[in-house]
Amino acid sequence: MYRIAVLGDRDSVYGFAALGLTVFPVEEETEGARLLRRLAEQTEEPYAVIYITEALAAKLEEEIDRLRERRFPAVIPIPGVSGNTGAGLRAVKKSVEQAVGSDIIFNN
C-alpha cells in the first residue's frame, strides 16, 4: 500500500489533510530536502506520489531531478497559495524537449 504526501508551506497544504493525504508543512530548503529524501527512501509504507508546491520545488530542484528517472515516487509540482508560477508546465515542457529534441507541444 502506497501513501500520498503533500509538501509545502502550511497554508497551501493543510487543505489536503482533510482529504486524507499526509501533509508535511515545510518551507525551508535544507529541511525540505531532508524530508523529501526521507520520504523517497522510506520502504515501510512508501510514498508513491509526492505533491510539492512550486515555491518549494524551485528550491529543491536538485533533489527532484534525482527522483525523475525512478518509478516511485512521482514528484508533482502544484501551485500553492502564492499563485501559479508556471513551473509545473515548464517541467512538462522539459520532458517534451528531452524526448523530441525541441518543444512541439507548447510552441504556440
Binding site: A17, G101, I105
Partner: protein
C-alpha cells in the same frame, strides 16, 4: 575505418559481416521502438498538458476558497477542523509495461467506504466557506492522481526515448558505417593479395618455361654439334 586497425583476414571478414547483419537488425528494431515510444509519449504528454492546466485552475480556485475560509474562521478552529482527518487515501500502485518502460498505474483506496466522507469536523463551529473549500479540493483529487500518473509516465518515457534515440543514432551514424568501411577494406586487401599471388605464379611459370626452353635449346645444340 582509417583510425582503427583490422586484420585483413577471411576470418575477420566473416565476423564483421555477421556483426553488421546483427547491427542492422538491431538498428531497425530500435528505430521501431523509438517511433512507438514517441507515439505513446505524445499522446500522454497532450493529456498531461490539459490535465495540468485543469488541475492548476482548480487548485487556484480551491486556494481562493481556503482563503475565504481562513478569513471567516480563526486559525485554531481551522487547525482542529482539518488536521484530524477522518478520511485516508491510499494507493494501490501497479505497473504497466509500455515498450519495456514500466509506467505506474494507480488505483485509489479510501479508508472509509464512502469516498465523499471528507468532512472531518462537525458543521457547528466552522463556516460554510470551509465546506466549499474542502469540497472543491476533493473534487479535484481524481484529476490530481491522474496527473501524477501521467506526469511520471511522461518523465519515464522521455528518459527512455532519449536513450533509445542515442542508440539509434550511434548505430546509424557510427557503428554501421564503420563496419561497412572495414568490410570494404578487408575485401579490397584480400583481392589485392589474390592478384599478387596470381602475378607471382605467372612470373614463376614464365621463369620455369624459359628455363625449359633454354635447356632444350642447349640439348638440341649439343645433339647437332655431336
Amino acid at each position: 575505418m582509417a583510425g582503427t586497425h583490422v586484420n585483413p583476414t577471411r576470418m575477420e571478414l566473416t565476423r564483421l559481416k555477421r556483426k553488421l547483419v546483427t547491427a542492422v537488425r538491431g538498428h531497425k528494431l530500435l528505430k521501431d521502438k523509438r517511433d512507438e515510444l514517441m507515439r505513446q509519449f505524445l499522446e500522454l504528454v497532450r493529456e498531461n498538458k490539459s490535465l495540468r492546466e485543469r488541475v492548476e485552475a482548480g487548485l487556484g480556485a480551491a486556494n481562493a476558497n481556503f482563503a475565504m475560509a481562513r478569513a471567516a474562521d480563526r486559525g485554531a478552529v481551522l487547525d482542529t477542523a482539518l488536521l484530524t482527518p477522518k478520511q485516508e487515501v491510499q494507493l494501490e500502485a501497479g505497473v504497466k509495461n509500455v515498450m519495456s518502460v514500466e509506467i505506474p498505474v494507480f488505483t485509489v483506496k479510501t479508508r472509509t467506504p464512502d469516498p465523499n466522507d471528507i468532512y472531518s469536523y462537525g458543521f457547528a463551529f466552522t463556516s460554510g466557506d470551509l465546506d466549499d473549500a474542502v469540497r472543491s479540493l476533493s473534487e479535484l483529487l481524481p484529476d490530481l492522481l491522474r496527473l501524477a500518473e501521467v506526469e511520471k509516465s511522461c518523465q519515464l518515457l522521455a528518459a527512455e526515448i532519449e536513450k533509445t534515440r542515442r542508440r539509434v543514432n550511434a548505430l546509424e551514424h557510427v557503428m554501421i558505417p564503420d563496419m561497412q568501411e572495414n568490410i570494404r577494406y578487408i575485401t579490397m586487401k584480400l583481392d589485392e593479395n589474390e592478384r599478387s599471388t596470381q602475378i607471382r605464379l605467372m612470373k614463376v611459370k614464365d621463369m620455369m618455361l624459359r628455363e625449359a626452353i633454354e635447356e632444350r635449346r642447349a640439348r638440341s645444340a649439343e645433339a647437332a654439334g655431336g
